[in-house]
């Protein structure tokens, strides 16, 4: 049958019943409810949106979480004072412990006021800085000492070789004194000879000069001593 079976006479009879409408007050009440209702879900929705946004921004602003290894290492780095003579390999990487100290300061679950972790972090960083500076200074001093030691050693070696060279021809009574003089530098030795001549001890001066010439055949002897 369907829609084609619509009876026009029945439809006309039905339309003749009139077209009652709801009272105006009812319209107003329903429309007011429809306008009022969206506000009820818009406010919670807005609050939820703001909360989601705030949480999202906060999570983005947080530093990346340090791994467990960093957290485990950090307290040792802070608490254990490194000896001044730390190996150079550790000194070559001053940034790493500093980072670890920072991470430890951030990750420390301290239930104190919000400023506390930052203060602890700054203190740890300062400690690390001073330790590194101290180590660097110590290392520099150690290197200077090593260089100075090397210089002293080479001088001692050079000076020690002189008595050995002088020991071979030493047979006279003056050998003891010469050997003593041979410990002097060439300049001092010549100054000693000059002093002997000035004192009128010409023989001793000549013997000493002869010995000097044997020891330093290429050394240019001043005219006054010849």
């Amino acid at each position: 049958m369907a829609e084609t079976e619509r009876d026009e006479k029945v439809s006309a009879g039905y339309r003749a019943l009139g077209s009652e409408e709801p009272p105006r007050a009812l319209d107003d009440a329903i429309l007011a409810a429809s306008r009022r209702s969206p506000a009820r879900w818009r406010v919670p929705l807005s609050i939820a949106a703001v909360l989601v946004l705030a949480v999202g921004v906060t999570l983005r602003m947080l530093p990346p979480q340090p791994d467990a290894e960093s957290i485990a290492l950090a307290p040792q780095v802070i608490e254990t004072p490194r000896p001044a003579s730390a190996p150079p390999a550790q000194l070559a990487q001053p940034a790493k412990p500093k980072e670890q100290a920072k991470l430890a300061a951030r990750a420390a679950p301290v239930p104190e006021p919000a400023a506390a972790p930052a203060v602890a972090g700054a203190a740890a960083e300062n400690r690390m800085r001073s330790e590194v500076a101290r180590s660097a200074a110590a290392d520099s001093a150690r290197r200077d000492e090593a260089r100075a030691g090397a210089r002293l050693e080479s001088r001692a070696t050079a000076e020690a070789s002189a008595p050995r060279a002088a020991a071979a021809p030493a047979a006279s009574a003056a050998q003891g004194m010469l050997a003593k003089k041979s410990e002097l530098s060439p300049e001092a030795w010549l100054a000693r000879i000059a002093e002997l001549r000035k004192q009128g001890r010409a023989k001793e001066a000549d013997e000493s000069l002869a010995e000097f010439r044997k020891r330093y055949p290429d050394y240019k002897i001043p005219e006054t001593l010849r």
Binding site: A2, S11, E20, A33, S34
Partner: protein
Amino acid sequence: MLAYRQGDAGAFEGLYARHKGPLFRFVLRSVKERALAEELYQEIWMRVIEARGRYSVQAKFTTWLYTIAHHRITDHWRKRGLQLVDVSDADAVGHRSFEPEARAEGRQEIARFSAALAGLPELQRETFLLHEEAGMTLAEIAAATGATEEAAKSRLRYALARLREAMEDG
């Protein structure tokens, strides 16, 4: 309705203006008491407003609206202890009383039609009203009332026959 679901209050006003008359008359002629009709009418629209978040385009808005109306009116009958049954024999129709207002006005033809409509079994009357007042197809009526299309077709056929008979009796 989708626009209203997204917060456009003006969209609801358009829907309301288009459907308020037919829905009001559907309710009024279903329950036959004006005060009760107004109460049910308001409740139906409130349910529409509250359920807008769950609205999806699975059917015409008209079908959705009259589905809500059907459920609300069915609840009303059940609260009154009335059982909605499919009555398809003419004897059951003949025992219904006429509306006194229509008779008092002296408009015989209208009164007869009104009486015949009021005397229809609820499901037949509902099907006729959905078809005549809301302009719904049999498929839409079946969807709104939870019946099969065949049942809706049968109800409409009996309703039309009875109303036609009432008009011819005059």
